[in-house]
Symmetry: C2
Subunit: 404 residues, 2 copies
C-alpha cells in the first residue's frame, strides 16, 4: 500500500506574496493600471449623445456603476449614464422612459459575447431604435461572436483581454470606456490603482495591512464565516454590491484538498443599517467580522441649521444644530465603531477614504482586488474561475430546447 | 447547595402557536389588517401636491418603499413618492434636485419622535422651504415630542400605536399614509394581510408552511447560519432590504438561556446575482438555506424580437427569440432552482407570487412577519425589542456633548 498526500496548510505570508507575484504573469487585472488610455479618451470625446446606455450584467456593469454613483452627486456630468442589467420587462421599460433613445449611445458589454440577458436586451432595443455603427460601441473578447458581429457591421469594438475576468474588469475597457464617455477622469482612476499596486509589490505601505488581513480572515474562517462591509455613505451603495460580487464569486470555491470554502460577504450602508442590522452584530452569534468605511471629506458643507423662529425648540437633538451633515455622518460612524469595539470579541477594522474623487475610489477598489487575491491564495483555491455559475446556463439552454 | 434551571429546549409546534396567539393581545402588528382606513383615505385624497417626500429611516421608510417600488413600474401614479433616509448631504441634495419643494407634501415619520437623522433633515428642509400645516404630515407615537410639535403647529398627525415596532409597521399609518397619498389601494393591501393572518390563526393553508419552515431553520441554525432570499425580479429589490431589516433586527438576540442567536439574512436579486453570488452557494461551504421568490405574471408581454434583417443571425441564443422577457426571467429562475436542487445538500424552497398588485405583495410581507414571529418564539428570544441598536445612540449623544 502506498498513500501520499500533501494536505493543505496555511503558507507563510512570503510564499503567498510570491504566488501573487507569479500571478502577475498570467492574471490580467494586475497590469491594467499601466495601460495606455489614449485611444479610449479620444474615442470617448467623439461621442456627443446625451445618454450613455450600458447593456451588461454582473462584472460588465457593477464596477463602472460603483464608480459612477460614487462620483455623481459631486459632479455635473453633461451626459447621463444608465445601466440595463436586468431582463425584467417592467423595470427595463420604466428605465427607458428616462432616455431619449434617439440621443443615446449604446455600449454592449459581454466578455464571452453570449450572455443571454445582454443579447436579448440588445435585440429588444434594436426593435425600438435602429442600432448600428452610428450609436453603438461593443466590448467583448476578440474571438467572440459579438466581436464578429461588430466587425460585420462596422461597429467600434474594444477588445477585453481573455485573462481579465468580469469581476476584475472594472479598470479595463469594460469600466473605462463608459466612464470616459460621461467625463470621468480615467487617468486619475489608474493613478489611484498604481499607487496601491506599486506599494503592494514593493512591500511598502499597503502590503502589510492587506496580507495580514487576508491571513486573519482565513485563519478564523470557521468561527467568522461572514464578512460585513459597513460603508458610512450612501455614495458607496453600488461599491458594496461590487464588493459582494467580487468576494462571493472569487472565494466560494472547492480548494486543492477538495474542501468547500466560503467567506460570505454582506454589504451594509450607514447610518440606515445602524437602525437594524447593527442589532444582529451587537447581540447575535459572533460569526461576523466588520470592516467600516468612512469618507473624511465629502466636499459638502451643508449645515443642520438653527431656526431663529424657535419653532423647533422643543424637538430633541438641538445639540446637532450648526454641525454639518458630513460631521453628523462621521460622528455616527464613530459612535457605531465605538459600540462594536466595546464588545471586545467582534473583529473590526476601519478604512478611511480621504475624499470623493477618482483617485480615492480606485485606491479602495484595487486594494479589495488584491485582498481577494491574497485570501484566495491562502485558501488554495482558484480565485479567478467560476464553475458554479455555469450549471444554470446549461439548464437554461435545455429549457429552451424543451419548450421550443 | 441548590441549583435549578430549566434549560431552553425547542418546544412543540402547538406550544409555539399558542405563544403567537397570546402575542396577539400585546403585539400590535397582528391586528393591523383589521384597522379602519376611512380617515387615512379621506386625508390622502385631500393632498394635491405633485411630490410626496417621506422623511424617515429604517422601519419608517423601508416597508412603504418596498411596496411602492414593487408596484411603480406597472402603475402610473400621478404623484412621485421619494424617501429621504440618509444624512449624506451630497445624496440629499442630489435627490432634492428632482423635487419642486413648493409642490411637495412632507411626511415626517419617527416612532420615538427623536430620530436624529429625521429631525436634522426636517430642520434642513425647513430652511429651504417653510414647512407648516399647509405641506406637512407627521406620524409618531402619541406622547412624543414630535407629536407635541405637530399639535403646537396645527400640523396633521397620525398616531403610531406604542405596541407596533418600526420594522413591523408597514401596514400601520407609517406605510399606509404615504402609500395612500400616491394612489396605492391600501384596502387591497390589508385584504392580502387578512388572507394570511386569518388562515394562519385558523391553522389552515398558511399555517403549516410557516411554522414548519421556522422549525427547520431553528433546528438547523448551527449548520445553516445564513438565510438567502433570492428574488427573481428587480421589482423586489426594496422588498429584499425590508426582509433583511426585519430578519436581522428581530432575530439577532440573546435568548432566555443567555445564548447569542443569529440567523443572518442575505437578499439577492436574479438574474443579476446568478452571475456572481450563485458561485458561492453552489461550490462554497454548505452554510446557507436558499428561498427563491418568483413572480408568475408580470402583466407585461414584451417580447424578445426576431430581427427580419437577419442582422443578429450569428449571435447566440437565437432560441430565446419570440419568448417574452417574463418567460425568460422565469426560465432563468427555474434553471437556477434546478441547479441548486441537484446539489441535494442545500436546503431550498420556492415562493411564487401570482402577479404584481397590492394584494399579493401584502400577502408575502405579512407571511414573512409571521415567519419571523415563529422563529423568534422557537429561539426563545424577544423578537420585538432592539437593545443592541441603542448603544450607538448613547455614544453619539456623548460625542455631541464633547465637541459642543
Amino acid at each position: 500500500m502506498k498513500y501520499t498526500k500533501n494536505f493543505y496548510q496555511i503558507k507563510s505570508n512570503l510564499e503567498i506574496f510570491e504566488r501573487l507575484k507569479a500571478e502577475r504573469e498570467t492574471i490580467g487585472y494586475y497590469n491594467l493600471p499601466y495601460q495606455d488610455t489614449t485611444e479610449i479618451k479620444k474615442y470617448a470625446q467623439s461621442i456627443t449623445k446625451k445618454y450613455v446606455v450600458v447593456l451588461g450584467i454582473g462584472g460588465s456593469s457593477l464596477g463602472a456603476r460603483a464608480i459612477y454613483e460614487f462620483l455623481l452627486p459631486s459632479n455635473n456630468y453633461s451626459k447621463d449614464l444608465l445601466f440595463l442589467e436586468t431582463v425584467d420587462p417592467l423595470k427595463i421599460n420604466h428605465c427607458l422612459k428616462k432616455v431619449d433613445l434617439k440621443d443615446a449611445q449604446f455600449v454592449v458589454i459581454s466578455k464571452s459575447g453570449n450572455t443571454i440577458e445582454t443579447i436579448s436586451l440588445f435585440k429588444y432595443l434594436n426593435s425600438l431604435v435602429e442600432i448600428d455603427k452610428s450609436n453603438c460601441t461593443i466590448i467583448s473578447e476578440a474571438q467572440s461572436s459579438l466581436t464578429q458581429f461588430a466587425n460585420d457591421n462596422n461597429i467600434k469594438v474594444f477588445d477585453l483581454a481573455k485573462n481579465v475576468g468580469g469581476r476584475f474588469s472594472v479598470f479595463s475597457v469594460v469600466g473605462l470606456v463608459p466612464l470616459a464617455m460621461v467625463g470621468v477622469d480615467i487617468d486619475n482612476l489608474l493613478n489611484g490603482c498604481k499607487r496601491v499596486v506599486d506599494s503592494f509589490f514593493k512591500q511598502e505601505e499597503y502590503y502589510k495591512p492587506i496580507i495580514r488581513k487576508a491571513r486573519f480572515l482565513v485563519e478564523n474562517k470557521s468561527r467568522f464565516n461572514i464578512n460585513v462591509l459597513f460603508s458610512y455613505s450612501s455614495l458607496l451603495e453600488s461599491f458594496n454590491k461590487w464588493y459582494v460580487q467580487l468576494w462571493a464569486e472569487s472565494l466560494g470555491k472547492v480548494n486543492v484538498n477538495g474542501t468547500r470554502q466560503a467567506l460570505t460577504p454582506i454589504g451594509l450602508v450607514g447610518p440606515v443599517d445602524q437602525h437594524s442590522f447593527l442589532q444582529m452584530i451587537m447581540d447575535g452569534v459572533r460569526d461576523k467580522t466588520v470592516t467600516f468605511i468612512k469618507i473624511d471629506d465629502l466636499k459638502d458643507g451643508t449645515i443642520i441649521p438653527k431656526d431663529s423662529s424657535k419653532k423647533f425648540d422643543n424637538l430633541s437633538w438641538g445639540c446637532a444644530e450648526d454641525f454639518t451633515f458630513n460631521e453628523l455622518l462621521n460622528m455616527q460612524a464613530d459612535a457605531t465603531i465605538q459600540s462594536i469595539q466595546e464588545q471586545d470579541d467582534i473583529p473590526c477594522d476601519v478604512i478611511s477614504i480621504r475624499t470623493v474623487d477618482e483617485y480615492n475610489i480606485a485606491k479602495i477598489m484595487f486594494s479589495y482586488q488584491l485582498l481577494v487575491s491574497c485570501i484566495g491564495a491562502f485558501l488554495q483555491i482558484n480565485t479567478y474561475d467560476q464553475p458554479g455559475v455555469e450549471y444554470g446556463k446549461i439548464n437554461l439552454a435545455e429549457k429552451f430546447t424543451q419548450t421550443s
